[in-house]
């Protein structure tokens, strides 16, 4: 991923800042600049999520995505945030300990990097609330 492409979403990725439609009250993370319900009538503004959520579903990945080979097995989940939206993220915990409905909170972590000398990506992963 190019530097500019990552930098564009840096605030959203670092600080869990998404958006909210003032018209209908729907929250979006990842951020959307158009409300799918109100479309052109929507009023979008930034919204910082509190980060608390629960595991909606998960998998333990044994055959890694490119660039994630040294992390296997890793837990990937869909986290439903308290404010409504869901996101895809890694969950840092023992693979045997994760379950559907587990309460989680975000932590700031390295997500990956472009090869040996390339850009390092940071962002959020999630850990169990009681950790």
């Amino acid at each position: 991923m190019s530097v500019a492409r990552f930098w564009r979403n840096q605030i959203a990725r670092y600080n869990l800042v998404g958006t909210k439609c003032k018209k209908c009250g729907e929250h979006f993370y990842p951020p959307r600049n158009m409300c799918p319900a109100c479309r052109r009538d929507g009023q979008i503004e930034d919204f910082k999520f509190n980060g608390h959520g629960e595991v909606l579903t998960f998998t333990i990945i044994h055959t890694a995505a490119e660039g994630f080979e040294n992390q296997t097995p890793y837990v990937l989940g869909i986290i439903k945030l308290q404010e409504g939206p869901s996101l895809t993220c890694q969950i840092i915990c023992e693979p045997e300990s994760v379950y559907i409905g587990m309460k989680v909170k975000p932590v700031f972590r390295k997500l990956g990097q472009d090869g040996e000398r390339g850009m390092i990506y940071y962002g959020n992963k999630f850990i169990p609330e009681q950790c």
Partner: protein, 390 residues
């Protein structure tokens, strides 16, 4: 709008084909379909080619022109040729565009083809190319893989409905059972539930035998107005309906992780257009890119109640000769999944079945068949219904 019929079909063999190039495969399928229809190149008004990622798999874009060129349809006769892309639903969409062209009255004879050459790159590169069908910025960057996304669907399906790993395995077992009788299939060998469960874990709960393979292959069909189809063949197969739908690109934004709303919507549109319901369908080719995908598909298309796809498969309801035969070709699992070709291959299978030419896979008395082709984790779905009767 005019009624449309399929008058010619051809699949290449599916599998790892190191001796054949991307263009070799499409020309083989295209020429085969033209011969099957008994037409000549000059008769063709336009062509549509489904291809997901020539750019990443063979570093080739401008696929439409390339294929027209190597089929002998570019120089001198300059047939218009259009590439269609919707990830793994590219083939189904190419077919749909071809149907539009004929139904509209603009074109008479149209080729709808699909092709993918996936083994010219190492497997990790192929997986990475496929991952582009998901949301690169918000799924891929987190380490999501395609098996991982479908594994999350499977995990929640198990949690909500009690679906088991054994039931998932039964999908693969049944599809291999069918695929052994398909001369083009990549894997023509029966497997057992035990061998699926003992195969390596890719993304828990999906084992490698829950996943469709990486495949080279191409398929093509020739479309014509129904009114003149009998000039070319004694057994035209009529297109009764085409339905397409979109959903969120990312799995995490879906209304329900265990339901493909795009399949629901495309299916509803197709049933409505054909004035049919699930009980009118004699056999169906569904998009089993993973075993869980077939379970969701037969539920979302209305062949079984939501949540009962696993148990229905385990009870044998989807086998050849049973209530609703699913994936008589062997599906993506056993026949192979050259992503751009799959949607067209499904139509070729249904045509062979409705013509009564499917050999040991034949569904007795099949009159009406359906195809279901999915892009990504469910952001695109295309459903077609075909019939022996106009």
């Amino acid at each position: 709008m005019r009624d449309v019929a399929i008058i010619g079909v051809k699949n290449t063999s599916f599998g790892e084909q190191w001796d054949r190039s991307f263009r070799d495969l499409v020309v083989d399928a295209g020429v085969g379909a033209v011969e099957d229809a008994g037409i000549v190149g000059e008769k063709i008004d336009s062509m549509f080619v489904g291809n997901m990622s020539g750019g990443q798999f063979v570093e080739q874009e401008h696929i439409g022109a390339l294929i027209a060129d190597y089929s002998g349809l570019a120089k001198d006769i300059h047939i218009p040729s259009t590439r269609v892309e919707a990830a793994c639903a590219s083939g189904g969409l190419a077919l749909r565009q071809g149907i539009y062209a004929v139904a509209s009255g603009i074109d008479d004879i149209v080729i709808a083809a699909g092709a993918e050459k996936m083994t010219d790159v190492p497997a990790p590169k192929a997986s990475s190319a496929l991952a582009a069908a998901a949301d690169r910025e918000w799924e891929g960057i987190m380490g999501a893989t395609f098996p991982g996304l479908y594994a999350m669907i499977a995990r929640l399906h198990m949690h909500k409905y009690g679906t088991t790993s054994e039931q998932l395995a039964e999908v693969a077992v049944k599809n291999h059972m069918n695929g052994q009788f398909n001369p083009i299939a990549q894997y023509r060998k029966p497997i057992s539930v035990d061998s699926v469960l003992r195969s390596i874990m890719v993304a828990d709960p999906l084992h490698i035998f829950d996943c469709s393979p990486i495949t080279d292959g191409s398929s093509a069909v020739i479309l014509a107005p129904a009114d003149i189809a009998h000039e070319y063949t004694d057994t035209p197969i009529y297109v009764k309906a085409t339905g397409q739908a979109s959903d969120t690109i990312a799995l995490h934004d879906r209304r329900d992780i265990t339901t493909l709303d795009a399949t629901l919507a495309a299916g509803r549109r197709a049933y409505s257009m054909a004035k049919m319901e699930a009980s009118d369908i004699d056999l169906v080719e569904v998009h089993d890119c993973f075993t869980i995908a077939e379970i969701c598909a037969i539920e979302d298309l209305g062949f079984v109640k939501k949540g009962e796809g696993g148990i229905a498969t385990q009870n044998g309801e989807t086998a050849i000769g049973a209530r609703i035969p699913v994936n008589t070709s062997g599906g993506l699992k056993s026949c192979g999944h050259p992503v751009g070709a799959t949607g067209v291959k499904q139509a070729v299978e249904i045509v062979e079945q409705l013509r009564g030419e499917a050999g040991k896979r034949q569904v007795d008395g099949a009159e009406v068949g359906m195809t279901h082709n999915v892009g990504g984790s469910g952001a695109t779905a295309v459903v077609h219904i075909f019939s022996r009767n106009r």
